[in-house]
Symmetry: C2
Subunit: 224 residues, 2 copies
């Protein structure tokens, strides 16, 4: 019995690449805005890795995004205002996400289990119309996925054992980490998250508990 579904957000629920590129294009007309978005996202994992590894105390993703923005802007020879880093609060959902979340929410608690902070996830939900019941993830655990603490703290915050919680993600490694802790897993591929030439996470790497092309289908598979 699935009592709660917790979601990866960047890539799984929202199209960060085109959303970021659009605002970058407005801020710096003529720049290669998709390359800028890719480079900004490219700094994401290295920045979190230092924190995961204990080389730096917990810093919210909002701050990492701002630091990374300035690093990338320098590389592109532009000067970016701090305010541009709030673009991560204005990402647009994939077309199936809002209706799919509403369908899933009729049967189970739904919450993000993202590396985004409560502040970031709250504002993003208001922008994108994501009807979360609560916000879980990195801020609750003060650490970053795929560290076990983040998944376990999210289950604990709901007072549910991991086997009653399903992690939903477009990324196989996120699901591997969740499965190792006893959570149920659902894979919803987003084959253009990284653009038309994407070569990873196109197919499931394991037999996940559910595999669906979109959130609406996932709702039907789980709760029909």
């Amino acid at each position: 019995m699935i009592k709660a579904l917790i979601f990866d957000v960047f890539g799984t629920c929202v199209d960060w690449r085109n959303s970021v590129a659009r605002e970058v294009e407005t801020a710096f007309p003529g720049i290669d805005s998709l390359a800028f978005a890719d480079a900004w996202r490219g700094e994401y994992d290295p920045a979190m890795r230092r924190i995961r590894d204990g080389g730096r105390g917990y810093v919210a993703l909002d701050d990492l995004h701002r630091e990374n923005l300035h690093r990338v802007a320098k590389r592109f020879a532009v000067s970016a205002p701090d305010s541009l880093s709030h673009v991560w609060e204005r990402l647009n959902p994939w077309p199936d996400v809002v209706s799919g979340l509403h369908a899933l929410r009729r049967h189970a608690i739904i919450a993000p289990c993202s590396n985004g902070s409560i502040a970031l996830m709250t504002r993003l939900a208001r922008h994108a119309g994501l009807p979360w019941d609560c916000i879980l993830g990195a801020d609750i655990a003060r650490d970053y996925k795929p560290k076990p603490e983040v998944y376990l703290a999210s289950c604990a915050a709901l007072r549910l054992p991991p086997e009653e919680v399903m992690m939903v993600a477009a990324h196989n490694d996120d699901l591997s980490a969740a499965r190792a802790l006893g959570l149920k897993t659902a894979f919803v591929p987003r084959p253009t998250e990284y653009g038309p030439a994407q070569d990873k996470d196109l197919v499931p790497s394991e037999e996940w508990d559910a595999i669906a092309p979109d959130f609406e289908t996932l709702a039907k598979e789980l709760f029909a």
Copy 2:
């Protein structure tokens, strides 16, 4: 500029007394169910006080409610199942609350800043239709109101300075604690929270930033 409103929940948003009494009456027909509800609520503050004072580590309110239930049941000479303590997830809102929260939410982030856990507040929101943007409060701070940490952790989770956050409560002492930390304050009295003979929190004890008879009027006062 108010960017977020954070709410006391028990008493301010929901009518715990009649909601609890109704289920107690069903569980133990013929018992003085309002007296039982009052006695159960009477154990609330003493249980939290030990934690606030450092005599016990942080324990979620769900667990305190269960412990307190058994203490009160003994006094009433009945044997209560653990499951009855989940009644706190099924409290009914005052009549103005759902529409008022929807109105407020059009202008600012709304979130509970309650002593209830994330689990409890999440399930209560689903039961009562409270359209929170996220869940803040005791679990975030791992301490209980009126300790300053709870209000400050809630503002910090939203990455807002206290002066951009308004605490909404039916209890003057909750607002005093919030004001001392720089938060804005709104008083919405609930003159029958403790029944028809209630003698406290009938009127504001200070000139709060806003005073309104219900959430719908508060929305008009703040954002007209």
